[in-house]
Each structure stands twice: as C-alpha cells, then as structure tokens.
C-alpha cells in the first residue's frame, strides 16, 4: 500500500494500462490451456470462469491417439491424428531451419568477406525479394512443384524456402562484416581452403548470432501456414497449423470439439512458449534490433 500511495495518479493510470494489456495478451493463451484440461461436458457450464471445475490430461491423450478415459458424447470427435502432425511439423521445421541456416550463412559469408563481380547488386536483389508479396510467388511456385510431382511431399513443402531466406542472409552478413578477420587471414596463409576457414573459424565465432537466428527461423517455420496449406494437405505430410485448420473445418456447422481443438493448440504452442521462457531475453533483443522476416 505504501508503494501505491507514493504513485501519482498518472503513474497509477500508466501501471493500470500496462496491467490490462498484459492481462489481455495472456488471457487467450490461458483460456486455451483451460479448455485443453477441461472435461468436454464442463465446457458450456464453465464458459465464463477462468479455471476448469475439474482438470484432466485426457484430451491431450485423445488427440495424440493414445488411450484416454475422456470420451466425447457426440460423433464430432475428429479423426485427425495430431501425433502424426506433430512429427510432420518437427520434420518440416528441422529441414527448413538447417537448410536456411547453412546456405544463408554460406552466402552471407561470401557477401561479407569475398570480392566477386556483381556481389553488391546480387545482395541488394536478394534483399529486394522481401518486397514481393508471397501470393505472387505462390502461384508459379505451386505450378512448378505440381509439375515436378512434389505435391504432398516434404521436398515440395520445403523447396522454395530451404535454400535461403532474405532475412537470414541479411542477418548473418551483419555479423560476419563486424567480426575481425585476422584469424581467417592467418588460416589462409597456412593454406586452409576457403570452406575450411568458413566452417572451422568464421562460423564457430558466430555461435551466438547463429543460435539466435536458429530460434527465429524455427518459430517462423513452425508457424508457417499458407504454403504448407497449398502443398501439404495429405495426412502423411500435414503440419500442425494445417491440421488445426482442417480439424476446425471438418466440424462444419456443428459445435467444434473445443477441448480436443484446444489440446492440439496447446501442443502446437508449447515449443514456442518453452523457447520464450528459456531464450526470452535473446528473442526480445534480436527482434528489437532487427525485426523479423
């Protein structure tokens, strides 16, 4: 109370606004968790309360295809297998992030350190690619992937983005430019090959930025919806975001299986929330300095 009394009315108003903002930011996430641990029969009864009358992990088991004591009365229980979607999201994200990290760092290193004709023009062109609306690219890219017979395959889903993303090239180039090159030059005199210098000297120095970039790229890939929605609808490759969307649209006009849906939602945001808890400072600071994408 003494703390509150020392505040001016303006400050009290300021703190109140911040508090309300934090509440509104977090409330929806909490409600998703609340529904995920609710018994399906309690959903209507407890719609205005912040805590479920009874808690269960049965919904998670249910959507992951494990034996569960929670059963839905109606026939709307979705047959979507979120364990498979979870696996697909992990494969999709791992492929894209490892490819983008490696190839973008390789290119960024050359853009930062080596001299070759047209270098700066190429770099500007790569950055300019961010200006192109994705829908402009998606139509021809979809036709290409279709012609290759790659619809509903992982290679079709990752092909357009695995070799580079302008943001990653830009991000890594900054760090290579501002790091000292003495070690690399010494290694060059010793006769080390350019790739060896890149791989054993230049890259390890950038461990911090690479870890940060890996986190940002993972979050992006994990959340990607539009392209996988166009090219990966089959269950065997369908990622979580697309599976969630299909889960809802299968409900039609009926009442969705909210507890199942929200358990799948919680499964899909859990990795991100964990990353935010573990790497919060790193994520905040990198977004603050560079923006995302």
């Amino acid at each position: 109370m003494t703390f509150l009394r020392r505040l001016s009315p303006g400050q009290i108003l300021g703190y109140s606004i911040l508090a309300i903002f934090v509440f509104v930011s977090l409330l929806p996430l909490w409600i998703a968790i609340k529904l995920a641990i609710s018994l399906p029969n309690d959903v209507f009864r407890s719609s205005t309360s912040l805590v479920p009358p009874a808690a269960t992990l049965g919904n998670f088991k249910r959507v992951l295809g494990l034996p569960s004591d929670v059963v839905l009365a109606s026939a709307i229980a979705s047959p979507i297998n979120f364990a498979l979607a979870l696996r697909n999201s992990l494969i999709y994200t791992a492929l894209i992030v490892s490819g983008q990290l490696f190839f973008s760092a390789l290119a960024a290193y050359a853009f930062a350190r080596m001299k070759f004709p047209g270098r700066d023009a190429l770099f500007v062109a790569v950055l300019g690619a961010t200006m192109i609306p994705s829908i402009v690219l998606f139509i021809p890219n979809f036709i290409l992937i279709k012609d290759l017979g790659w619809i509903n395959t992982f290679q079709g889903m990752v092909a357009p983005s695995i070799l580079m993303t302008p943001f990653a090239v830009f991000f890594m180039r900054q760090f290579f430019i501002s790091s000292p090159k003495e070690l690399e030059e010494a290694a060059k005199l010793d006769g080390a090959s350019p790739f060896k210098i890149f791989w054993t000297i230049a890259l390890p120095i950038q461990k911090g930025p690479i870890a940060t970039l890996a986190i940002l790229l993972s979050i992006n890939a994990w959340n990607e919806f539009f392209w996988p929605f166009l090219t990966g609808r089959d269950e065997s490759v369908r990622v979580l975001a697309v599976a969630l969307s299909d889960f809802l649209s299968q409900t039609g006009q009926g009442i969705p299986d909210w507890t199942g849906l929200m358990s799948a939602v919680v499964i899909s945001i859990l990795p991100i929330l964990i990353m935010l808890v573990v790497f919060g400072r790193r994520i905040v600071e990198s977004l603050q300095s560079s923006g995302m994408k």
Partner: protein, 310 residues
C-alpha cells in the same frame, strides 16, 4: 624403395592439389559460396515473379495449355465488382488495423520505457506475436463464440447484449482485425520501445527544466525522433495487412455472406478453387504494383531515411 616412391607420389599429389586450390581465384570461390542461395533466389523468387506476370497474360486452368490473351484478364478485373469489393473490404481491414495497432503499440512502448524496463514484460507482450495466426484465430473463435465464449458470458454479466462477432457479416471483419491487433500490438510496441532507447535522455531533462508538459514532450521530442521507426513499422504493417490471409482462411473463409473476402482470399479462390491461374495472377500483379506505390509514398511522406537527430 616402394614406400619411398609411394611417399613421393603422395607429396607430389598433395602439391598438385595445393596448386589447384591456390589457382582458384577468390571470385570463383565467392560464386560457389553464394550459389545454393542464389539458386533458391533464382528458382523461387526471381523467375516466378516474371512467370506470374506471364501467367497473368493467359487463360489457364492447368488442364489445357495456357492460352495467350494479352491484357484481357486486367480488363476483366477492372470491370469485376467482386474484385472491387475485395479491395474495399481490404482497405476497411487496413483502416481498422493500422491506426489501433500503431497507437496502442506506441502507448505501451512509452509506458514500458518510463515505468517498466524489464525484459520479462517485453517477453510477455510479444508472446501473442510468436504464436501462429492459425492458433490465434482458433483461440479467438472460442473466446468470441456466441454460445460458449468467455467474451459473451462476460458481456452478459456486465448487463450488455451478446454479440455474434465472427458469425455476423457486420462484425466478422472487425473480429478478424481484432485477432490481428491482438497478435501484433506487442511486437509493434517492442519496435517502438527499441526506438525510444535511442532518444537522448538529456532532451527530456532540458524540456523538463523549461516546464514542458508530458504531452508536449511527447509531440515535440519523442514522436519526431521516432520517425524512422514509425516509418518502418507503418511500411511493414501496411504491407502485411494488405496480405491478410491465414486468419481469414481459418476463421471465416471469406464469409459470412462474403463480408471478409479480402484481396488475398479472392486471389486464393480464383487460383486454387476455380483454377483460374491467369486471372488470379493478374490480381496478384495489381496488388504487387499497388504495394510498391504505397511503400514509396509512405517512405517519402515519412522521410524514412532521416532521423531528426542527424
């Protein structure tokens, strides 16, 4: 003898190898290093941009061969009331989205900068931005559900009337904008917060000594110095808003009664539901040109490249 021969052979090979390596000029190595990324850029960015324009000059349903029809798609487009409807709806969405998101973001940034400089607060407020659009809209569909939603329950508790939100043509677009605002305000605030850190504190101290009010300091110091950040935020958020898709695809599918059929949804329908690749590409090229113009206007109006500190 034999081992000596083998040894000299090996050293000979090695020196040849070294020579070849030295012979490779830096420019070739440079090209090799950027080759994979450039291949990706070429195949999936550069070529498709031109190909999109080429496709926009055809009538093509992917089953028959494309038929060249010159600019007929563009003619159709300008006479298509559904296209203009989607333009109007998208502009409406942008008009809801951008002012609220920007002003609220600025307010939160200024408050956080003055009162709560903790990383924890910033990590909490960007949480909605880090989860996907799909998840955000699913949670809000639940929260705004006419029967089961927390929001309507609370509205009723406060003595207000229940609202249909996503399920009514009059409120669906507002609800879509609400989801986007919820997801983006924290991130916008974070960018403004970063900009505020570069405003020299002594300016405020001097203004304080002169007896300037908080409001006056905001308008004469904070806002002018934030202009480059403001330009960045506005340019990226306007470009993003014109391309709203995920929330529509999951939340409303353009409905109810076509009340949320924004440009991207209309392009998607034409390309992937009606197989009109040429027409869809023509709309996407128009969107592309429009966004370039909007970006140039914004950059110029906000003199994006210069801060008033210089």
């Amino acid at each position: 003898m034999a081992s000596q021969e083998a040894g000299s052979l090996a050293s000979k090979q090695r020196s040849e190898h070294d020579e070849r390596r030295k012979a490779m000029p830096e420019s070739v190595v440079g090209y090799l290093f950027v080759a994979p990324a450039l291949f990706g850029f070429f195949m999936f960015y550069l070529v498709p941009t031109f190909r999109a324009f080429q496709i926009s000059l055809t009538d093509w349903n992917l089953l028959r061969a494309p038929k060249f029809i010159a600019f007929a798609n563009y003619g159709t487009l300008f006479a298509d009331p559904k296209f203009w409807d989607s333009v109007r709806l998208t502009l409406g969405y942008v008009a809801y989205n951008i002012p609220i998101q920007t002003c609220l973001g600025l307010l939160i940034a200024v408050l956080a900068d003055r009162m709560a400089k903790s990383v924890l607060l910033r990590a909490v407020i960007i949480a909605p931005y880090l989860i996907s659009n799909v998840v955000a809209v699913l949670i809000w569909l639940l929260l705004l559900d006419p029967l089961l939603g927390l929001t309507n329950g609370w509205l009723e508790f406060l003595g207000l009337s229940r609202e249909p939100f996503f399920s009514s043509p009059g409120q669906a677009m507002l609800s879509v904008a609400g989801v986007s605002i919820w997801r983006h305000v924290g991130f916008t605030a974070l960018l403004f917060y970063a900009g505020l850190q570069s405003v020299p504190r002594n300016l405020y101290e001097a203004a304080n000594l002169d007896g300037a009010s908080e409001a006056r300091m905001f308008w004469t110091i904070t806002l002018p110095l934030l202009r480059p950040v403001l330009a960045f935020v506005l340019v990226t958020s306007v470009i993003g808003s014109f391309q709203v898709f995920d929330v529509i695809a999951v939340g409303t599918q353009g409905g109810p009664a076509d009340s949320t059929r924004v440009i991207l949804w209309y392009i998607y329908e034409n390309a992937f539901k009606f197989n009109k690749m040429g027409y869809a590409s023509a709309i996407s090229m128009v969107l592309f040109s429009f966004l370039i113009v909007v970006t140039l206007i914004q950059m110029r109006a906000l003199r994006a490249g210069h801060s008033d500190l210089d």
